[in-house]
Symmetry: C2
Subunit: 450 residues, 2 copies
């Protein structure tokens, strides 16, 4: 079990820095492109976050636009209130659901997906309540591919319905036991019914990467023909890898005219990369959840996916989403499901912008783009350079001396750095230890000069 003894710990983790770190003003030395503010340099070496499809300077990004790619034109289906409710610790009451829905709306996700109203009486009521909030985001519910569920769903006031049906041999034999003919027939019936109510509909297969390719393409083509708004691919077990994803999505893109949604589980660490690669191959929608919560170890986290997309096209991401609202919704969900934000969480984890090794610290101080592809201030975060350890370098120590207004020469800073390293070999150094060493050192120099 998680340690729940201090429910406030989640908040403390976010944005707080370990004690031995020097806070650095993130606006320092940043021009409008994240490169040092020295005019001519900016164009040739923009911060990577600026390299959208247009002004792309990464040697390994193609210089030419990719006809299939939706990397600069994607939508997020935020599933914290559906997939996330399947997380072991999640028991959302109505009030919490509404808070989360509002926070996601504030962040600016394109759609939110809710647990099926057929799951329980309260689930149905919650679905109705969220539909009545008047959010900018579309509200979708996720149901089994079954007329009983569809009839309940269309009465709740949702903008869209996501239906799903297992097509892999595993699920056909051990779960619902239906054959492809039956699956196709049911899917078409449900789609036509939901559309007749003027509501958007998506049809997804389940466990798509262990399904037969011909079966998959057949059913996707059939539902596309009857006017489904979106088809979905789901890596329900987390088995897919990026090159498989690219191949399947690209193939599917040639078969259907509708939108393509992708849902990836993270059991083997590929969920975010698979989502990105799917967009490269022509997918249009990606499923996320806050902190990635879901069945087992979950799906792409909203923050991690945003970090990935920001790196690919900062301008698009910044124009569409309210990045500074990320931390708030993460804290809200972490508290609701009683987990700590992981130490290594994307963007908001407490070490996401901490630099430690001497050569990293030196370069970061000269130009943050050297070791950072995300500008912390875009997310309301700060950068930290850690100095109280044996991997420290004199450039980082010099920066701290300047903050303390200690007047030391380069040689003297190097000597002080050697003293810090020596002490760090003996025991862990806090910020106070480091400051004391530096102050004592400066005082001793003043004394000997006097």
């Amino acid at each position: 079990m998680c340690d729940h003894s201090d429910p406030g710990a989640t908040q403390k983790v976010n944005g707080a820095a370990p004690e031995t770190h020097v806070g650095i003003d993130t606006s320092m030395s940043l021009g409008s492109n994240g490169a040092p503010a020295n005019g001519a340099e900016v164009r040739r070496q923009p911060h990577l976050g600026d390299t959208g499809n247009a002004g792309n300077v990464q040697p390994f990004n193609s210089r030419y636009s990719d006809f299939l790619s939706n990397v600069s034109n994607f939508k997020i289906i935020e599933s914290t209130l559906r997939e996330g409710e399947q997380f072991a610790n999640a028991f959302f009451d109505t009030e919490t659901k509404i808070k989360i829905a509002k926070a996601l709306d504030k962040f600016g996700v394109d759609c939110i997906e809710l647990t099926s109203p057929a799951a329980s009486e309260q689930s149905r009521k919650d679905c109705e309540a969220i539909c009545k909030l008047g959010l900018k985001t579309k509200v979708i519910t996720h149901i089994r591919c079954h007329m009983d569920d569809a009839r309940i769903a269309v009465e709740t006031g949702v903008d869209g319905v996501d239906v799903v049906m297992g097509t892999s041999k595993f699920l056909r034999e051990y779960s619902h036991g239906k054959d492809m003919t039956y699956i196709t027939k049911t899917a078409i019936e449900v789609i036509q019914f939901v559309k007749s109510k003027g509501i958007e509909i998506r049809f997804s297969t389940e466990d798509s990467f262990r399904s037969d390719l011909v079966d998959l393409l057949s059913i996707y083509q059939a539902v596309d023909k009857v006017g489904v708004n979106r088809v979905g691919i789901a890596d329900t077990v987390g088995v897919a890898n990026p090159r498989q994803v690219y191949d399947l999505v690209r193939t599917l893109r040639g078969v259907v005219g509708c939108d393509i949604e992708c849902h990836f589980h993270n059991d083997t660490g590929c969920a975010i990369a698979n989502a990105y690669t799917a967009l490269e191959a022509g997918a249009t929608h990606v499923d996320t959840s806050v902190l990635g919560i879901g069945e087992r170890n979950g799906i792409p986290s909203l923050g991690g996916f945003i970090a990935r997309m920001y790196t690919a096209d900062r301008e698009y991401v910044m124009s569409k989403y309210n990045l500074k609202a990320l931390r708030e919704v993460e804290n809200l969900v972490a508290e609701a499901v009683q987990i700590q934000v992981p130490f290594n969480n994307y963007v908001t984890g407490y070490c996401a912008f901490t630099h430690k090794a001497g050569i990293h610290a030196k370069a970061i101080l000269a130009n943050p783009s050297t070791y950072e592809i995300i500008r912390p201030e875009d997310f309301g975060m700060s950068r930290y350079v850690s100095i109280g350890h044996r991997l420290t370098g004199w450039n980082a120590v010099k920066s701290r001396c300047e903050q303390l207004e200690l007047d030391l020469t380069e040689e003297q800073v190097k000597e002080a750095t050697a003293a810090i390293k020596k002490l760090a070999d003996v025991r862990e150094q806090t910020m106070e230890d480091v400051d004391r060493i530096l102050r004592n050192y400066a005082r001793s120099i003043e004394a000997s000069a006097a």
Copy 2:
């Protein structure tokens, strides 16, 4: 900051299940292939973990072996004691370093990489001490591409030396300030010196994905010609995506004859997927650290990378690594750096094998392969099916009734399930709540029958 109030919490997180879960014997219904033990079925529907290059049944894995791929023939360079020491919280003393080195050796990693002996006097002594342990794993140290560091490194007793030099414009201008001619000249001098001492050497560029392709290939070709054992690609800032990685590694594979190592940071969630894709393109070695600790939010975690590779070739992974030793080394490192194992950690996170939605639970009970691609028992873990919530299904409840030896008909189990769902709408259900409902229900039926 992390909540360190309970240092034992790390241990508790691992393998412990939330209260409302039913433990399921993981050997249940598993034949030697993870499919139900009913002969004929096994060949047609093996557990996905069994699908190596040979008996591959995943529709989207190629049926034919891939000439370039090293997915079934890779080596791990475990860098907890180098990259991991650059993690914000890491201050390893000698004793801790030795414990971690031994635990990694027990797990069976191919090489361990240590902090440069030039970093500090203690780093040098620790390096010597670890070399003297007589581990099966190779011991490597990681230094700047500089003769001063190389001279110190070769005296420590290491099996290999990893050198690194920044080649991106960012690092050339804001870090070391050297041009490609100087970099190449220095690299060759260091390589020849280290080789003359009979020690293995790797040359890696830093920030490879923001370096010029022609510069990269030129220097890799030059160092390959003078007999470097391995070249390294490093995504130092975590910017690379899988298709870029595939292209670069495949291109490099055509240029050099030596081994290829890959080092990926995880800032944008692609580290594990990039490592896997690099192996597909012909890379031979992948860098990991325990729990992924390193600069900023780190690199591929040993456990996550192993999960990925296990899914691709269970037989190779099981034959080479002691998977049941994973949890031990994770707990050791989590304690040493005072972090909690993240709730969503690969394989050992407490929800990695927890199943909650009714349809998932039903299928898992019929055949674990339906929603699991990793067999928990291979890692010394257990599976849990959660039932005390509004997404529960009657199949999971039936399984619990059988464990409690309650004699209920299918109809009666369904009625009891409805009761659990109704109560779960009101408040969170513990295992005790669920058991009480079931027992009372069974008793009331007995009473009315009497």
